[in-house]
């Protein structure tokens, strides 16, 4: 055997393609894939959410509620019950056993959780000045239940998050990237839901008190504290001014009367 050393001309072990081109292709393919899954889920989850029976939803809700450090509030329950009594007999909401929980927090927010659980933050209550306003807020949350909004949101976002977790693994940066991007698209979906819930809440408020007074008062108050409209493009709630405008349009369109509001009784905070 004769040994003739020779330096090879080029490297057979390394592909010639440029890494940035490869990155472009892979990212493009990934975005396309995620978009497709999202679209498919959007088409099917909406239909599925409307079919979930209340019993199943209540079970899901019990699981979700374990995460929340909140105390059930009897006074709020009573107020909610008087709203539900104003609903027509065939309303879906009569199948729910509603519970209202009060969370001690500075945040100005209220949530509708699956299974008939409503969580109200004490920060929100401090901003409320009349019984009518409180009824409007509770009725708004009832609107979410009536439209099965919380289940729709859950279905789509959860479906994609599960798909991402299956593909990339739960700990991976890719699945958190995917869920972050999708949360912004979800926001527009929620703004429409919020507007529909506002309309439902207004109708229920008027049925309960016989007039629409107090419907916009809360939003007028917090409007002063919120900034311009730009951050609201991607937020989950519409800008307060937009909500006020939509409510006023409906009040005028349906000729709802507006009378004096009842000041807020303070039995909520003394309730143990």
């Amino acid at each position: 055997m004769i040994f003739t050393p020779k330096q090879p001309e080029d490297n057979v072990n390394v592909s010639k393609s440029h890494p940035l081109i490869e990155l472009l292709w892979l990212l493009g393919g990934l975005i396309l894939l995620v978009g497709l899954i999202f679209f498919l889920l959007g088409v099917t989850a909406d239909w599925a959410a409307s079919k979930v029976p209340v019993k199943v939803e209540t079970w899901i809700g019990q699981q979700a509620l374990k995460e929340f450090p909140a105390i059930e509030n009897h006074s709020l329950n009573l107020r909610l019950q008087s709203l539900i009594d104003s609903l027509p007999e065939n309303s879906l909401l009569h199948q729910y056993k509603f519970h209202v929980f009060l969370v001690d927090s500075e945040e100005i927010n209220a949530l509708a959780l699956p299974g008939g659980n409503i969580v109200v933050y004490s920060g929100l209550l401090k901003q409320v000045q009349s019984e009518n306003e409180l009824a409007m807020i509770l009725a708004h949350e009832l609107g979410h239940f009536a439209h099965r909004d919380h289940l729709r949101g859950l279905g789509r976002g959860l479906g994609v998050a599960v798909a991402a977790a299956l593909l990339f693994g739960e700990e991976s940066a890719a699945s958190s990237l995917v869920s972050k991007t999708l949360l912004t698209f979800q926001a527009k979906y929620s703004q429409d839901q919020e507007t529909a819930a506002d309309q439902f809440g207004l109708d229920l408020l008027t049925k309960r008190y016989g007039h629409a007074g107090g419907a916009t008062a809360f939003f007028n108050r917090i409007k002063k504290e919120t900034g311009g409209k730009f951050p609201y493009l991607l937020a989950s709630h519409p800008h307060p001014q937009n909500r006020i405008d939509a409510l006023m349009r409906r009040i005028i369109g349906k000729s709802y009367p507006i009378h004096e509001t009842i000041p807020l009784k303070n039995d909520i905070f003394t309730d143990k």
Partner: protein, 158 residues
Amino acid sequence: MESLLQNFDLVIVLVLAILGYTAGSLAEKRHYRSIIKREKELLKMAVVTAEGSFPPGKVGSSALVSGSVVISIDYFKRLLAILRNIFGGRVKSYESLVDRARREAILRMKESARKQGANMIINMRLETATIGRSANKRKSVGSVEAIAYGTAIVMNKG
């Protein structure tokens, strides 16, 4: 500014990817230049995987020689590999990594043999490993280790 802080981990990923691409490409080019230069110098030393059989008296002395190297996977390469893992196909970003590691290991082995005055290396074996629990695990950028070992022999003159 707020949205930047909210998506802080996204920003970190982006920064690391850019850093990996720029610094990594630079380091790779330099390493290849060094490899090619040294390969030219050590061209005369034969390295074979064959056992070799020599006529009696031909081999003066023999010794075990080895060369090893650890090269880090930069973040950009790792990103490409993770994306590749979804779609399948050749993970091209790791090819240069492994190639460099193996050639460097062989070069170091040759160098160590040369220091001992050997003429050739027979029965060479090459092994590659990833250091760290898993090279693709989250929050850990792993490294590739390559080790080349063989028997260096000094031939008797005449």
